[in-house]
């Protein structure tokens, strides 16, 4: 067997091993519904942005509070289980 062919086979074997390892490590809990490939990828992106937005918001509130800004009433409004109070509010989406 020629050296290039051996190298190619070895590369394929390594690639296959890496793939198998990735799949084993990546899905420790089995979801019974199909989470959807596109849905998982877009979620990672959206969650990244939303997480950063949330962090900025929290940080901004702390700065405002430090300078004696008004305490926000968001937290209370968020907790309404039936969401009634939210109907009148027109909060911007903050994805």
């Amino acid at each position: 067997m020629s050296a290039p062919r051996v190298r190619a086979r070895r590369r394929r074997a390594v690639a296959a091993l890496v793939l198998v390892a990735a799949l084993l490590v990546a899905s420790p809990a089995a979801a019974y519904i199909d989470p959807g490939t596109g849905s998982m990828l877009v979620q990672a992106l959206v969650a990244g942005v939303a997480g950063a937005a949330l962090a900025t918001k929290t940080y901004w509130r702390r700065i405002r509070a430090f300078f004696g800004g008004a305490p926000d009433d968001d937290a209370a409004a968020r907790r309404a289980p039936d969401g009634r109070d939210g109907a009148a509010r027109s909060e911007p989406d903050d994805a």
Binding site: L19, A22, L23, A26, S27, P28, A29, A31, Y32, I33, D34, P35, G36, T37, G38, S39, M40, L41, V42, Q43, A44, L45, V46, A47, G48, V49, A50, G51, A52, A53, L54, A55, R78, R79, A80, P81, D82, G83, R84, G86, A87, R89, S90, E91, P92, D93, D94, A95
Partner: protein, 469 residues
């Protein structure tokens, strides 16, 4: 070890291998499978079940002995508190679907705070007790692994975000899609049907439009292992997860219904009743309810639920069905304002009521399968079925007999202006629409207990009892 009495497995409880729901001797149980043991333990030990139930967000349940198990392999058997009536998301109004979405997110927040996460976000995990949305699936919780994305994200968008957005930015009648698509509205469909301007809303752009585009782009990834591996390696930090849930919440809160003024929304401002006749009708209906002492009442064609309340205020659990979206929204608004846990408004077209459907017609029960009620109210309704939908009187009577053991039904004659208005634009092909044929049509099914002429109108209120057999 299994119990001797026969257990009937719930027809809708088969997707999740974590356990299943069954009924024995009329009592509802939920069996927890061994594979779900660790998750169940965490939900109990973290206080998640107790805390959610205390706040009225989750149906309370108690753990009963393993001897109650319906099949081998149980690690626990739960007995959830029974619900007064099971409704389907395609029967809810917009505000109810929205409340169910917010409840699901609230439950997810509470779960995350205790190291757990929802593994599904189906609208069918939510039920209503009057105005109050309540989560019912105790096995939806699994241990949260930091870094792992929310596996229920897609389902949440399909079950809640897509139909709510279509109703808010398109037409409330889009909610009818949920009856066909029990697994939610496909995002590519919603993305295409929504007006372009919804792309300018960050939440809808991300969770619907961008989401749909990603789904399309990665639809064939299963055939390309490298791509599939990429998705499996997708990571969402804990802060990202909180941001995602907060973003979904703000997106849902940002959706509101612009209700058209419909015939029904303003119905009570424009009826055939003057105040005295209205009071007489109320008294007659209240008297009939007192005579029956029902526990479960179906008010068919309930409009905003004014008469339904006569039943719920007398201790019955009353379901107010109406075909009109605006009427259902108003009835629900009223129930929320009163914090009414005995009156449930639902959307239903009696000319085409909810069927037995889902796999093997056995997942989502029809209206008739969820009955019979102790009492059916059919006030100012029969002319809509008989004349508006051309249903013969004897078929109306037969259907009512399937729905309830007792009946309070109002007959509205042709001379009444409401009926005259219906006949004004069409040919009168209803020679049998009169009191005598009406009574004859109901006689095979019901015994007429009383017939009360309503003072100040030409209408008659009947109280009937279903014949045995």
């Amino acid at each position: 070890m299994t119990h001797a009495a026969a257990a009937t497995r719930d027809g809708a409880s088969f997707r999740d291998p974590s356990g299943f729901v069954f009924r024995r001797d009329g009592v509802l149980y939920r069996q927890v499978a061994a594979r779900h043991a660790a998750h169940y333990r965490r939900a109990v030990d973290s206080g998640l079940y107790v805390d959610l139930a205390r706040e009225g967000l989750l149906v309370a349940q108690e753990e009963v002995g393993l001897e109650h198990a319906a099949a081998p392999g149980a690690v626990a058997v739960l007995r959830p508190e029974p619900l007064p009536f099971v409704s389907h998301p395609y029967e809810w109004g917009f505000a109810q679907l929205r409340a169910a979405a917010l409840l699901t997110l609230r439950v997810q927040i509470e779960a995350l705070a205790r190291g757990m996460t929802l593994k599904d976000a189906s609208a069918y995990n939510v039920q209503f007790v009057g105005h109050r949305a309540v989560f019912i699936d105790h096995l939806s919780f699994e241990v949260y692994e930091p870094g792992r994305p929310w596996v229920a994200y897609r389902q949440f968008c399909e079950h809640f975000v897509a139909p709510l957005a279509l109703a808010a930015h398109g037409d409330v009648r889009w909610l009818a899609l949920l009856r066909s698509w029990l697994e939610g509205v496909p995002l590519d469909f919603a993305s295409r049907a929504l007006p372009w301007r919804t792309r300018l809303r960050p939440g809808l752009f991300a969770h619907l439009h961008l989401h749909a585009r990603y789904q399309r782009a990665h639809a064939d990834d299963a055939r390309a292992p490298a791509e599939a591996g990429r998705a499996a390696r997708a990571r969402v930090s804990e802060r990202g997860m909180q941001g995602l849930v907060a973003s979904l919440e703000s997106t849902v809160r940002g959706l509101a219904l612009a209700l058209p003024t419909t015939a029904w929304g303003d119905y009570y401002a424009d009826t055939n009743y003057d105040d005295a006749a209205f009071a007489a009708k109320r008294a007659a209906v209240a008297g009939a309810i007192d005579g029956v002492q029902p526990r479960l009442v179906f008010d068919l064609g309930a409009n905003t639920g004014v008469f339904t309340r006569l039943a719920s205020e007398r201790g019955a659990y009353a379901v107010a069905f109406d075909v009109d979206a605006a009427a259902v929204e108003r009835a629900y608004e009223g129930a929320v304002e009163r914090r009414d846990e005995r009156l449930l408004p639902l959307r239903l077209d009696l000319a085409n009521p909810s069927p037995d459907q889902g796999f093997a017609h056995d997942e989502r029960a029809s209206l008739a399968s969820r009955g019979p009620a102790d009492l059916v109210l059919a006030l100012a309704l029969v002319h809509h079925l008989a004349i508006g939908a051309n249903v013969p009187l004897d078929r109306i009577a037969a259907y009512f007999a399937r729905l309830g053991r007792a009946l309070v039904v109002e007959f509205v004659p042709k001379s009444d202006s409401q009926v005259a208005r219906m006949l004004a634009t069409r040919e009168d092909v209803f020679p049998d629409y009169a009191r005598a044929p009406f009574e004859a049509a109901f006689a095979p099914w019901f015994a007429i207990e009383s017939a009360t002429a309503i003072e100040g109108s030409e209408r008659v209120l009947y109280r009937m009892t279903r014949r045995a057999g």
